[in-house]
């Protein structure tokens, strides 16, 4: 179980770093799908090895909601926008460097948790937290609404991975609430983005700057 969870969480982190690196939106969306499916694999692996039937259901819902429904909604949001050319001269080097720093930070912050854990999966906990931190940084530095949503979803995936690794699944109602929550957030985001586009002819949130002070 240690090997499997470490491997899957490590792959998840690699995919997260690739999201930071890639600039083109379709590629980032595909990477997000890959990350969600890796998480579903992680959940089902732990579900089988630790004999938690509930986690198999969670994995299935995860694969459907985050691997299929949400990416479709995101693609729908993006389809209305003219393909944004990759900004010239903007390299991913610094962003990747920051992400690397966040991985180190994740290990430091999670020290109390790994110290208290007596689980075969404890080694992977900081990896999941690193995913969350990188997602948060993507969300904060995102330059348009899609960037914000993607960052938020990566962040959410990281926290979800951490929850699976540290607790082998939360009580059912909370898991259900989390899925419903993410889905509704993305749908509301879509409604808001549609309106932003109508008002501003763009989803560049730099134009949302009327409220100050």
């Amino acid at each position: 179980m240690t090997t499997a969870s470490n491997l899957l969480a490590f792959l998840g982190l690699v995919v997260t770093l690739l999201i930071v690196w890639r600039q083109s939106w379709p590629a980032r969306l595909r990477l997000f799908v890959a990350q969600s499916l890796l998480l579903a694999a992680l959940a089902s692996t732990i579900g089988v090895l630790a004999h938690r039937r509930g986690l198999l259901l969670v994995a299935a819902v995860l694969a459907v909601v985050k691997g299929w429904v949400i990416p479709r909604v995101l693609a729908r949001i993006a389809s209305g926008d003219p393909v944004r050319p990759v900004a010239p001269g903007r390299s991913s080097g610094i962003a990747l460097l920051v992400a690397g720093g966040l991985v180190v930070a994740a290990y430091v912050i999670m020290l109390p948790v790994t110290a208290a854990a007596e689980l075969p999966t404890e080694g992977a906990i900081p990896l999941a937290f690193a995913m969350a931190l990188i997602g948060l940084s993507l969300c904060v530095t995102g330059r348009d609404a899609l960037g914000h949503i993607l960052g938020f979803l990566v962040f959410e995936n990281g926290i979800f991975g951490l929850a699976i690794l540290a607790t082998y699944g939360l009580p059912g109602i909370v898991e259900a609430g989390v899925f419903l929550d993410v889905l509704v957030i993305v749908l509301i985001m879509e409604a808001v983005v549609v309106q932003v586009r109508r008002e501003h002819d763009s989803i560049d949130v730099d134009r949302l700057n009327e409220l100050r002070g």
Partner: protein, 477 residues
């Protein structure tokens, strides 16, 4: 049973209001708000006379702390509901009323469950229910406000989820009691044995997360936008009780954190964030040119004071903080309702565009003046009493420096708020406002709220002190 009925009322009302139009919608809305208020008061009286109410196998549970919040949500909800028909298009009122009552339902659920996981779901639900209410006027500014609100609060609440996961992790690592490890009652019982470092880390995440919802600086950035762009009844609900629900969530974890990690840890965080919030608010109260934004920053200030009270702790500090939550809920929801009337009369939310309130709208102006005096903490209103309790706790519990600094900032905020209020009340307006509505009806909610503020300021009604004592016994065991 009673608790279930209380929660079912706004939920059923919201669903029925979905398709309702015209007078039916208004009547149904009024009925739902009245029944919710009656249920809330009944629950809080019952809880304060006897034992906590429990339903659904302990899943729903209301103790004295919940009862306090339930009563506030009921009262502020009724105040806001009385003003809502002014803002609703008669042709299609359904969506506004639907979301309005759903919003109240999610807040009631957040404070009346024993399960901190469900509490998290409900607090997140408050964001989802209210985001379209913020954007109800569909202007560019309100769109921007709702976007920021959704994004910032969703990230914040996800951080709170991380904190909840860590609390659960600490619980099952230590005891393996998985079925109820997310129950607050279980958590409190197990707390002394939980891994202190993990609980500290969890509390940091919880404070950042729920603190975002509570509007604590530096996570408050969504708040002035959302509060100023939402229609007045929604601003009243958000400022009056939604922020306090965020504080409530933090407060639920505090006794467990105190037991696991010692009293100093939570106290330090609460004092630092409380002081920072008061400082940020004091600065922005001087620079806001929009009066709804100004009132929003005043909320940041008061939530900061509540946090200071909770941080100072002890009987006096905790009771003062809880009383301050109630006083602020009454005063701030009232002043937001009045500001909505002012805005529709003058057609602007800029302080510079409003003047001569006392001359042109004498009744609204008088209400606004009284509420502003209450908000800055002058006697005979309740906020004076609760602020004295909070600062009294600060000086007696051994934090004279923090209390002194907060007191100085409070004076700065006081002056900033009164300066703008003076411009609005006595200045000369650039253009004449519309006449205010005649009759006793518009005055009724104002009179009721001011009367309650006088009660908490001058003569506590029977049971109020007892209710505060019961809460203190829960929070400071």
């Amino acid at each position: 049973m009673m608790l279930g009925a209380l929660l079912a009322t706004p939920l059923v009302g919201a669903l029925l209001l979905w398709r309702a139009v015209g007078r039916v919608a208004t009547a149904l809305h009024a009925l739902t708000a009245t029944l919710t208020l009656a249920g809330a008061l009944a629950v809080s009286v019952t809880v304060n006379r006897g034992d906590p109410l429990v339903a659904l196998d302990g899943f729903l549970r209301a103790d004295a702390l919940s009862a306090w919040m339930i009563a506030l949500i009921g009262i502020v909800g009724a105040l806001a509901a009385s003003e809502a028909p002014r803002y609703v298009a008669p042709a299609a009122p359904g969506r506004f009323y639907l979301l309005f009552h759903l919003f109240i339902f999610t807040m009631l659920l957040a404070v009346s469950t024993d399960d901190v996981g469900l509490m998290w779901v409900a607090v997140e639900g408050t964001t989802l229910a209210s985001v379209f209410l913020v954007n109800f006027e569909r202007t560019r500014a309100s769109l921007e406000a709702s976007y920021k609100y959704l994004l910032i609060c969703s990230v914040g609440i996800a951080i709170a989820f991380l904190g909840t996961v860590l609390v659960y992790f600490a619980g099952i690592q230590q005891f393996g009691d998985e079925a109820h490890a997310l129950r607050w009652t279980t958590l409190l019982r197990l707390a002394p044995g939980l891994a202190p470092r993990v609980i500290e880390l969890a509390f940091v995440f919880l404070v950042i997360g729920y603190g975002t919802k509570a509007g604590l600086a530096p996570m408050h950035t969504w708040l002035p936008d959302a509060h100023s762009e939402a229609p007045a009844p929604v601003s009243a609900l958000m400022s009056g009780v939604l922020l306090s629900v965020g504080v409530y969530a933090i407060l639920r974890f505090k006794p467990a954190v105190d037991a696991a990690a010692g009293a100093g840890f939570a106290r330090g965080i609460l004092l630092a964030l409380g002081l920072l919030s008061v400082a940020v608010a004091a600065a922005f109260l001087w620079t806001s040119s929009n009066y709804k934004r100004m009132l929003a920053y005043s909320s940041v200030e008061h939530i900061g004071l509540v946090c200071l009270g909770l941080g100072f702790g002890g009987r006096l500090g905790t009771a003062g903080a809880l009383l301050h939550i109630a006083n602020h809920a009454l005063a701030k929801s009232l002043v937001f309702l009045l500001s909505g009337r002012i805005r529709s009369a003058y057609g602007s939310a800029e302080i510079a565009a409003v003047g001569g309130l006392m001359r042109h709208m004498p009744r609204t102006g008088a209400g606004f003046l009284a509420t502003m005096l209450a908000l800055v903490g002058l006697p005979p209103f309740g906020l004076f009493v609760s602020e004295v309790m909070i600062f009294g706790a600060g000086f007696t519990q051994g934090f004279p420096a923090v209390a002194g600094a907060a007191l100085v900032l409070l004076v700065v905020a006081f002056a900033g708020l009164l300066r703008s209020a003076h411009t609005m009340l006595y200045g000369t307006p650039p253009r004449e406002p519309a006449a205010e509505a005649p009759g006793w009806r518009p005055a009724l909610p104002v009179a009721v709220a001011l009367l309650m503020l006088l009660f908490t300021g001058l003569a506590w009604p029977p049971g109020l002190g007892d209710a505060l004592d019961r809460i203190v016994a829960i929070v400071v065991p």
